[in-house]
């Protein structure tokens, strides 16, 4: 489109709008603009006419009205203190928190599964690499929705009831807790919950500080390595800095944080933390499904590093783990991060499949019950769409920052 054209002699002729490359792009854009404006105007006027016929006009004041429905207990309700007397806005907020929770948990677990399986898939061990191939193909080629309902059915149909944990007269129970701490039942998974005593704030502060300290040490050690070539041990001191002060102060402060174990009382477990089965099913299905895709991404990333790189590292006398962490991974990361970002985005968007198991995510509160109760379909869907759009943009932004820090810095 950048070809040189003879400058026209004489005046402007309308024909130039189409045949002269200098004006043609302008013509095309003006035509496109007019078409788009007409289309949007048409849709907008249809909308106004339709809403007027229904006697409605776009109005967001319903958000402040009393919601009047209950949301099952969970992370969102616990944080906001939601009751049926709260507003629709609070209900939407509960949903948003629940979506963020399952998306975050899913991203963490999917990454762990994906990286592990991706490395194992490249293992020279025939059996292990085949097993991972079966995992990947099995999960990638079956709809996520099916995995969600299947795992949910496992959680609700194939797990013992709380009553099965009761020890009978002969001293035998039909089901046992894992490590005496975790009970997997058809009413949810019960795990020990933390009990925050006095001074526990100090302990948390110390932990945060020592984490920062550990990162500072790693940075310092790396800088020393690149500046002077002196190699300090990286792993053990960092772990020590992160955990020794906390453990020390834990006992010095008189064990301020305890664990509350779930206990069978009556017909149900009490104490501890209850993770509802919808959340568990959604979380596991999202993680396993996305993990299968991440496996392939990690595998492709590691394979994309030229063989000469690891051979050169060997020639320099580097040990295997150091070759991996200093030579292969930094280069593989550049290939891995962009598709990994889109997998994180997919997982976050797929969390809206919570509808299949009745998990109270934002689609279920704002885009579900609130929508049905108020009849404000347009407003609810608009807010829902904007929320997901904003979340996607935030995740892309964070991953882009990470990607830029990993980019090849050419000097």
């Amino acid at each position: 489109m950048t070809s040189i054209t003879d400058s026209p002699k004489g005046g402007f002729h309308p024909r130039q709008l189409i045949y002269d490359t200098r004006y043609r792009s302008l013509t095309i854009q003006v035509v496109t603009f007019v078409l788009v404006v007409v289309a949007i105007w048409q849709l907008g006027s249809n909308l106004m006419v339709n809403l007027a016929n229904l006697g409605q006009e776009p109005n967001f004041s319903f958000l402040n009205q009393r919601a009047g429905y209950d949301i099952g207990s969970g992370f969102g309700t616990a944080v906001t203190g939601y009751t049926s007397a709260s507003s629709h806005l609070t209900a939407a907020y509960v949903g948003i928190l629940n979506t963020l929770l399952v998306a975050f948990m899913g991203i963490v677990l999917a990454t762990i599964i994906g990286v592990l399986a991706g490395v194992l898939r490249l293992s020279k061990n025939w059996l292990v690499s085949r097993l991972m191939a079966v995992y990947v193909e099995g999960f990638r080629n079956v709809p996520l929705l099916l995995w969600i309902v299947l795992i949910y059915a496992v959680m609700t149909e194939a797990t013992p009831t709380p009553r099965d944990f009761r020890v009978d007269d002969a001293g035998v129970a039909q089901a046992y807790m894992v490590f005496d701490a975790v009970a997997i039942t058809n009413r949810g998974v019960y795990i020990p919950g933390p009990v925050w005593g006095a001074n526990s704030g100090i302990l948390v502060a110390i932990f945060v500080l020592s984490l920062i300290g550990a990162f500072a040490y790693r940075r310092y050690a790396k800088k020393l390595l690149f500046d002077t070539g002196r190699l300090l041990p990286l792993v053990w001191p960092a772990i020590a800095i992160a955990f020794v002060p906390v453990i020390l102060f834990y006992f010095l402060l008189g064990r301020p944080v305890g664990l509350d174990y779930p206990e069978l009382g009556g017909f149900n477990f009490s104490g501890g933390l209850q993770i509802s089965n919808p959340l568990v099913a959604l979380w596991l299905a999202l993680s396993l499904y996305t993990g299968a895709f991440i496996t392939e991404i990690v595998r492709a990333g590691i394979l994309s590093v030229a063989k000469g790189q690891s051979e050169a590292a060997e020639a320099l006398g580097m040990r295997a783990n150091r070759t991996m962490s200093l030579i292969i991974l930094p280069q593989a990361m550049r290939v891995i991060i962009p598709p990994l970002t889109s997998q994180y985005l997919n997982l976050t968007k797929n969390s809206s499949l919570a509808i299949a198991v009745g998990y109270a995510d934002v689609r279920a509160t704002l885009g579900g019950i609130s929508l049905n109760q108020t009849g404000r379909a347009l407003e609810c869907m608009l807010l829902l769409g904007l929320f997901y759009l904003a979340l996607s943009l935030v995740i892309s932004f964070v991953m882009n920052v990470f990607d830029n820090s990993m980019k090849l810095k050419e000097r």
């Binding site: 792009s25 059996l127 059915a153 379909a377």
Partner: protein, 438 residues
């Protein structure tokens, strides 16, 4: 030394060749393979054992259940009775009888039983129409059949008057004729004619004309509304329609996004990002709840059609991103080479850039299609009866109340076969298109 060689008989020299011996047992055959592939190091040996345990664990749970499967029973309780009788109450046995009993429903939904031959024939025609597109070894003449097959399939599935698909197909012919006639006058006019004439024809002429002709020559089969569609048939209808429609749309979007024209570029980016930033399920709810608000008052059209449009737009946005990657990967010299040959924009795209860009994007495009086909299961949430939706209605009957695994396994297997085949095809295509210029 050399002159005494032959005379000296030295005890250190061997005079006869050694018998050839078999290699050590650890270096051949199965033992070698086991040592190298399963137990080369301690860590690997542990991993092998763990893997064996995992496999045994899964097989020991699923194996007996699957092998003991009961295929011949009328209800779940009958299944259990048979199991108790033959294997004892503690045995685990699948009740595949539900699939034998309800496979027709899972395949066709509530399509009338007497008309099952129509979707079956349509499926065969679809495969026959796809074959020349997918495999280059089939004579090119068959592509004509591929072009006609969507109209035959439409007629077979929805039924009604044969003249509707005929006169709709005529629109394409009219477009081609208009382009040919106006091509003599002016190229721009030809393009405009090829677009405007069919649209005007479809909007105002096609359907009334079909009705008039149908009154004169009534040929047709029983009309079946798409609300009766269901099961795998519905998944395939939505999936195939969206795949066929979204590929050209996605390519156009990708070209728009890679365009130098500021406005076109920004519009494309806005469209793609908005579509991709929001989950499909929200778009499907938009299609079922909101679309009517944006249409002229009084219009109301088929939910299945609305879903097809939404899924098409959705996957077109994803394909646009994949193709954009392909466009970016074509070396700049190719664009410049096309310009230097004096090709105009469409010629250079069609002849030089897109063939290379699409070749690079094949894996991504096929992955998008696989994702699209799997996502057709989401239509259950807006009330269409895809296979997963039908499991609920099967479970609602008293005969099969409480049956889960058998249905899920069957549906999963069907989707697995379809998606795995698509993945294999993409690998085959990649190999075929690979040039020896590496």
């Amino acid at each position: 030394m050399s002159d005494t060689d032959s005379e000296v008989t030295n005890a250190y020299f061997r005079e006869a060749m050694l018998e050839q011996q078999a290699p050590p047992v650890t270096e051949t055959g199965a033992v070698k393979w086991l040592r190298e592939n399963l137990f080369p190091t301690w860590l690997n040996a542990i991993m092998t054992v763990v893997a064996l345990y995992v496999i045994w664990f899964i097989l020991s749970h699923i194996g007996p259940w699957f092998l003991n499967g009961i295929w011949d029973a009328g209800s779940l309780s009958e299944c259990r009775a048979i199991r108790d009788e033959t294997m004892g109450p503690d045995a685990s046995a699948a009740c595949f009888a539900v699939i034998a009993d309800r496979w027709e429903q899972l395949t066709f939904g509530f399509y009338p039983r007497s008309a099952y031959w129509r979707p079956t024939l349509a499926f065969v025609i679809m495969l026959a129409g796809l074959a020349p597109v997918l495999f280059g070894s089939i004579p090119r003449g068959w592509l004509t059949f591929s072009a006609v097959s969507p109209f035959i399939i439409f007629f077979l599935l929805w039924g009604g008057s044969i003249w509707v698909p005929v006169f709709i197909a005529m629109g394409f012919v009219l477009g081609a004729v208009a382009a040919r006639l106006l091509g003599g006058v002016n190229q721009i006019a030809a393009v405009a004619g090829a677009i405007v004439v069919p649209i005007l024809y479809w909007a105002f002429v096609a359907i009334p004309l079909a009705e008039v002709v149908h009154d004169l020559i009534p040929i047709g089969i029983r009309a079946i509304p798409s609300s009766d569609f269901g099961g795998f048939m519905l998944s395939v209808v939505i999936g195939m329609a969206a795949i066929i429609l979204s590929l050209p749309l996605g390519i156009v979007l990708a070209l728009a996004r890679a365009s130098d024209l500021f406005l076109v570029n920004k519009l494309a980016i806005t469209f793609i990002e908005i579509i991709r930033g929001v989950p499909l399920i929200v778009w499907l709810f938009t299609a079922s709840l909101l679309l009517n608000y944006f249409l002229p008052p009084g219009t109301n059209f088929d939910l299945t059609l609305r879903v097809i449009i939404m899924v098409t737009l959705f996957s077109a946005a994803y394909i646009a991103e994949v193709v954009r990657g392909g466009l970016a990967a074509v070396p700049k010299g190719q664009y410049e080479g096309a310009d230097s040959l004096g090709l105009d924009y469409w010629q250079s795209m069609r002849l030089i850039v897109l063939p290379q860009a699409l070749k690079i994007s094949i894996p991504g495009i096929v992955n998008t299609f696989i994702g699209l086909f799997k996502d057709t299961t989401l239509v259950v949430f807006i009330g269409l009866l895809d296979p997963l939706g039908l499991t609920n209605s099967i479970r609602a009957s008293t005969d099969w109340n409480g049956i889960y695994w058998e249905l899920y396994v069957f549906i999963g297997l069907m989707f697995f076969i379809a998606c795995y085949a698509m993945g294999r095809y993409s690998m085959y295509l990649e190999r075929k298109l690979q040039r020896e210029n590496r």
